[in-house]
């Protein structure tokens, strides 16, 4: 069952669900005819979409709003913060082509501060599915929750065999290990998993943590990894400031934990626009390149 089929299934039994888009129907192409008036396309007007979503939520609806991640979180930011955040309304923000997934679009389309922006809003949840399966299994939990939520939309085929059912605020431990913990979220789980296999072939014991939701975050899993492995590596297609590395730094300082962390992220720069596979190579995020970086850090 794909994203829109799941959404349709949930919408059939829950009248509160309305689906909105700012003229971006890629993920919800077949829903207009099925949902009728519960499908609302406002055109290229992200701010109006979010304001209207707040109005619909005031009337008891749960709007799932769709737009490219960068326009949803940046163009409409103040509407998200002010009209959804302040009243804590259950508006769900589904951001398309986040991070590296914007391929060759260029910096205008690179949502690589989206986690940073959204997690700064009180009560806003941030969910980053590793793949399509995780997205679909997260959807009912996201809708069930009464909070506003930002979803880093990712419909790539399953990247790994998932071991645990999706729960908000609960990381999935994909593998246990003692030498190093690789922590990541979103589609990079795929590359991190490849890196883990390369590292294991080099006789390293690797723990892989798929964070799944960055807010709430699984603080326990992070602190446990800090206790049990000597090196932690964060891998994210996000600016270094404000993403997972920042979140972990906050957790460590708050808990008085000092650990060596290798952050792999975009440091003070946008990434080279190209097709995804070439972006990964250029930016050093393929499984092979990640493994090499970790090996160097392990010494």
């Amino acid at each position: 069952m794909n994203y829109e089929e799941k959404l349709w299934e949930l919408a059939q039994t829950d009248e509160r669900i309305v689906v909105m888009t700012a003229e971006n129907r890629a993920a919800i192409r077949n829903l207009p005819s099925k949902l009728g008036s519960r499908f609302i396309d406002v055109g290229i007007a992200e701010q109006t979409m979010i304001g209207a979503a707040a109005g619909l939520a005031l009337r008891g609806r749960i709007p799932l709003t769709h737009a490219l991640a960068t326009f949803l979180t940046l163009r409409a930011f103040e509407f998200v913060r002010t009209d959804v955040g302040i009243p804590n309304l259950p508006v769900k923000l589904v951001g398309g082509v986040p991070g590296f997934l914007s391929d060759g679009n260029g910096p205008t389309h690179q949502a690589i501060e989206d986690v940073s922006l959204m997690r700064g809003i009180p009560n806003m949840q941030v969910v980053c599915p590793a793949d399509h399966d995780e997205l679909v299994s997260a959807l009912p939990k996201i809708i069930e929750s009464n909070a506003p939520c930002y979803i880093r939309y990712n419909a790539f085929p399953a990247s790994v065999v998932h071991r645990e059912p999706f729960e908000l605020g609960k990381a999935e431990i994909l593998s246990d290990g003692e030498d190093v913990t690789l922590l990541t979220y979103g589609f990079l789980v795929r590359e991190v998993w490849k890196a883990k296999e390369i590292l294991e072939a080099a006789k390293r014991s690797v723990r892989v943590v798929n964070l799944r939701s960055l807010k709430p975050i699984d603080e326990k899993a992070i602190l446990k990894a800090a206790r049990e492995t000597s090196l932690l590596v964060t891998v994210e297609d996000h600016f270094l400031i404000g993403g997972l590395f920042s979140i972990m730094s906050e957790i460590f300082v708050r808990n008085g934990v000092s650990r060596r962390v290798l952050p792999i992220a975009l440091e003070e720069r946008w990434f080279k626009p190209a097709l995804l596979a070439d972006v990964l190579v250029h930016e050093g995020f393929t499984g092979e390149q990640l493994a090499q970086k970790v090996l160097r850090a392990l010494g």
Binding site: V42, A54, P87
Partner: protein, 288 residues
């Protein structure tokens, strides 16, 4: 259908006078945006008494009409009206700017009867669209009114929202412009000219009328027969005077936000009732 009571003009005039007294009362000990509150007072009083299907015992009723203040600065006029009409105790207005309550310079939902918060301009037309849309989806007959400032029309989201409201055929949405011709300390026409304004709304798909925002007969004419055209949002341009009711601050660019002393308040109350002219000495707040 909405029941429209018809109050004698005298009753409306007296109510508006009491609301203006409350506004003056809130323009000390921290102050308030008195100019915009006074320009909106007759309009808000008229809406509550004659147009809106609302009452203190129906605050959460899904079939009520909605009024949203998008410009926000005019909220003392709404506080005063809500106090006079029994949505809250008049005594509560003394809590203006007190941490023990939530009666401050912009609207918020902690005050029963206030539908949504504002303060950042250009937001509530879109929120109104969402409410109006849900009412349509449920085949409701209630309506959503949103008061916009004329300065607020500088914001692109107002025009974006009008396009969307027209596309969605929201004829249960009524945008009212408090056309007091000022934005902060400057005249709208001197900064970002809005005129001709009626044709702009029409071009964006609304049906428009201009009314005198201080004349109840004119307001009655404007709010009769809305929507003006089926399938189209309504825009009502209410021509108003900033500071209306207090000649010593009417149309004064510097009397936008004020924090008067007790003597000035006493004088302004006399001026409101036409018994004396106020002499104002408090500093003015200039942002331009």
């Amino acid at each position: 259908m909405t029941e429209i009571a018809t109050s004698p003009a005298q009753e409306l005039t007296e109510l508006a006078l009491r609301v203006r007294e409350h506004i003056i009362g809130m323009s000390t000990e921290g102050g308030c945006f008195i100019g915009a509150s006074l320009s909106c007072a007759d309009l808000i009083v008229y809406l509550y008494k004659e147009v809106l299907s609302v009452s203190p015992d129906r605050v959460g009723d899904p079939n009520r009409d909605y009024l949203l203040l998008s410009k926000g600065h005019d909220v003392p006029a709404l506080y005063g009206t809500l106090a006079e009409l029994g949505f809250m105790d008049r005594e509560r207005l003394k809590n203006h700017l007190k941490t023990s309550d939530s009666i401050y310079w912009h609207p918020n939902r902690n005050v029963a009867g206030i539908e949504f918060h504002s303060g950042s301009l250009g937001h509530l037309l879109s929120v109104a669209i969402g409410i109006a849309l849900d009412i349509k989806m449920r085949n409701g007959s209630n309506r959503v009114f949103v008061i916009l400032g004329d300065g607020e029309l500088n914001e692109g989201t107002i025009w974006e929202g009008l396009l969307v409201a027209s596309a969605l055929k929201l004829d249960n949405l009524i945008a009212i412009v408090d056309r007091n011709e000022f934005q902060a300390n400057i005249r709208t026409e001197e900064l970002i000219p809005l005129e001709p304004l009626e044709p702009k709304f029409r071009a964006f798909g609304a049906e428009v009328k201009t009314v005198d925002g201080h004349d109840f007969a004119s307001l009655r004419e404007g709010f009769a027969n809305i929507p003006y055209a089926p399938g189209k949002p309504t825009a009502i341009i209410a021509k108003t005077v900033r500071g209306k009711g207090l000649p010593s601050i009417e149309r004064r660019a510097d009397r936008w936000f004020v924090n008067f002393n007790k003597d000035e308040i006493a004088m302004l109350l006399q001026e409101l009732h036409g018994t004396a002219k106020a002499t104002l000495t408090s500093e003015t707040l200039m942002v331009r």
